[in-house]
Symmetry: C2
Subunit: 149 residues, 2 copies
Amino acid sequence: MTASSSETLLAQAQQVCKKKGARFTKVREQVFLLLAKHEGAVGAYDLLAQLKKIDTAAKPATIYRALDFLSKQGFVHKIESINAFVMCHHFGDCDHPVQLLICDQCGHVEEIQSNNFDLALRSMADANGFTIIHQIVEAHGHCRTCNNQ
Amino acid sequence: MTASSSETLLAQAQQVCKKKGARFTKVREQVFLLLAKHEGAVGAYDLLAQLKKIDTAAKPATIYRALDFLSKQGFVHKIESINAFVMCHHFGDCDHPVQLLICDQCGHVEEIQSNNFDLALRSMADANGFTIIHQIVEAHGHCRTCNNQ
DNA sequence: TGGTGTCGTGCTATAGAATAATGCTACACT
DNA sequence: AGTGTAGCATTATTCTATAGCACGACACCA
């Protein structure tokens, strides 16, 4: 993730927030940028360490609140299986359910979208009388690059 | 989960271990039984508290090692999104990928199986040159019972 | 029957992840 | 300027998970 493209992302995010009337405060922007600049997933405390470099007063709650906000806006996703966070590059129209491919070798995270997949899961749930509110789909394995080595 | 059916499960698990030459030790059995008797998901430290009643020397590592073993045998599944563990009732033939429906209201966990679903995920991964080793599919929402209330 | 290696365990400590509770502050709206 | 909501700082604490090391049990083979 280059600096310029993270600036672009930031601008987009600012637009989205403005439209929704959400307050994109300084801390939230800082955390957003840290995530945008970071290739792949980052742990909350890693982020905290980075944030502390520019804001010495930062504490765990600082990070978690920011991440909470960013998640709600759909800017970042939490990866439950590794307790880490990753920037979402499709936001704006980002209510979509998320499916993640996580490379255990290089740490790369690929976000994919499949309505079919979502439908399949929902219909299975339906058959059980179950109503889905939130779904977590995370596949671990080896990415293309690592496969070819 | 009644006592008798957990005994039945235990017997089945013992069979499986014998066949594979895996050592189903006392600690592992105790944890297995605790899980079998527990309806729904349990946290590791909850389990630890229960285990301590029959084995005062038990420590976190005791539980985690046992859970690790039981997971590898396919007897229990970890629910990544809530950091908890749940007994699998299909073992024996339990190499199957797991899909879980987790009721956020009553805590009930339903395990479902769909080869189609698995195939859909794999083909999507394939399209990205990604090889899946392990998959996590967890849907949160409301179960049939809670929906009808 | 004793030697040897592997696997399991006990134990201590510590790392890592997340939230609770409280009171203060900044900002938007009127 | 007044008021309410949302955000924030701070401290402490809870919950989750693993590292590292020494000891013991057991299987296997000679």
